[in-house]
Symmetry: C2
Subunit: 347 residues, 2 copies
Amino acid sequence: MAEGEVRPNKKVVLRNYVDGFPKESDMKVVTDTVRLQVPHESTAVIVKNLYLSCDPYMRVRMSRPDQSIEFPSFVLGSQVVTGYGVAKVVVSGHKDFKVGDLVLGITGWEEYSLISDPNSLIKINHPELPLSYYTGILGMSGMTAYIGFYEICAPKKGEFVFVSAASGAVGQLVGQFAKLTGCYVVGSAGSDEKVNLLKEKFDFDDAFNYKKEEDLNAALKRCFPEGIDIYFENVGGAMLDAVLLNIRNLGRIAACGMVSQYNLEKPEGVHNLINIVLKRVRMEGFVPKDHCSKYRKFEEMVVQHLKSGNITYVEDIAEGLESAPTALVGLFNGKNVGKQLVVIARE
Amino acid sequence: MAEGEVRPNKKVVLRNYVDGFPKESDMKVVTDTVRLQVPHESTAVIVKNLYLSCDPYMRVRMSRPDQSIEFPSFVLGSQVVTGYGVAKVVVSGHKDFKVGDLVLGITGWEEYSLISDPNSLIKINHPELPLSYYTGILGMSGMTAYIGFYEICAPKKGEFVFVSAASGAVGQLVGQFAKLTGCYVVGSAGSDEKVNLLKEKFDFDDAFNYKKEEDLNAALKRCFPEGIDIYFENVGGAMLDAVLLNIRNLGRIAACGMVSQYNLEKPEGVHNLINIVLKRVRMEGFVPKDHCSKYRKFEEMVVQHLKSGNITYVEDIAEGLESAPTALVGLFNGKNVGKQLVVIARE
């Protein structure tokens, strides 16, 4: 491609703000154009987007604007939806990036994106692994698991670990980290297929299908007769309430998401918070972005484990930008098995 | 008094387990006897109790037994209610304690107590201050404020601090610590008299009577237009829910009690926990007992501030063991102004 060339640029935009569960029709794919040129004297780059990450937090950005600085609402209409993705630099105004560099970072849900501040991009160090891994296990999902488990939960060998949404992009890795640490780990998921995956593929000690449990407290008591030391919280609501009834003294709860609550008009009430006092529990919300300096350490650790076969990984890949709205919406119905991502182009 | 002598020993016992709000009639004062002698070859001591601390957590111990190891239920009938108190050693089988030593620790709500393990007692280093202070500002209430504020909340100058139950034993000290740190501090309390105390005596920047506020969220928005960095949580329930709507990024919540919830059959639901994720908030339960090694450092700091007049302290003193049940019950109706304690004897 020639610098300065004008190309068609398909992109996903938000048509309206979302109440309740998002639908495919809340988004649409439109065709715009892009000039493959960065503004004069700018340090911007233009990237060709390859793989897009579908993440539950994006639901928060689909709601009507409030004062949130961390998760600002998407702009309706012509402005593209953004999220983490893997991309290739095709035009560069920045001395640290050259054409052909593979990068990970916040990009647009479109074929080509102008990245005004390339300093936010991370260069991909291991292109010998599947590039798509950098949307998940080697990207923000992986960092979420790594920071949440090792930094926030400070696990010790022999501790009892519970992971909700355990077959998802973050949960599957948390479970494997827990096993590598010598913990006992149980996961919950929303289908028998996923439960099997947890036990057979990801080496969880036990797992249950929360949709088949009449009483989540009883399910946790069955799986953890001695209680829970660490809860990796991905769902919130009733599951959190049940965990609080089973948490042990000095328990830790790492909270990176509460996906069960994003689509509710009024969030469920959590009644058992008194156990945070009685059991001296620490519950901590976090985003991997606050821990960027640890990315390379995390990347090298996971790459080694992937290469040696100690860690495995399951992806759910949607083909083509047109399939992106469906893929994102599917997250909230639990349709995906493993990390949900969209491939726009493979190189 | 002569060692070996048998004396009458009035004590407070629990008549029945409590549902809902405790009443005076849930307890009674009975007269037993005590022999002023420790068992042969034991290292026990006998103490004469001087001041008893009334603490909200005691309500948890008045409930029907469950599996709680940290807060075991009191035994009904003849066994004395226990809690923190200030006492004087009158018989000693322990080499580190001599007759006349003044101590702080868990003792019985009675005139004389046998302390089987005196290693749990802390010697009082500053008898030049009012001894009663060691039930509160120099005792576990003070340690709760100190550990919760400095260790759990890690405050920085200029941060916005909110304290609930702010005129109580813990809250009044948290507010003063916050001012000494250069924070902006607002307290809530349950009467106009207490609100005045916060503003006039304890130097809070602002305060409000939560019973007069129709909308706690609006009250907090009025007091904290820029939001809350630190919440010192003493009450739980609706107040916690409102704080979660006003917490800032990287906010911290130190939870040492949820007194609004202790007397409810079904605790209130807290709906806004998603903000723990969105704002990366840390909420941490703690008990001062886990931090005993810091007691002397805390004691010296507070003693210096008391002597220099930088810190002030308000007590609500009930006279005589007979008044102890009323004093304890009063905590849950907000009757006390400042630290509630009971004096049994002054020396």
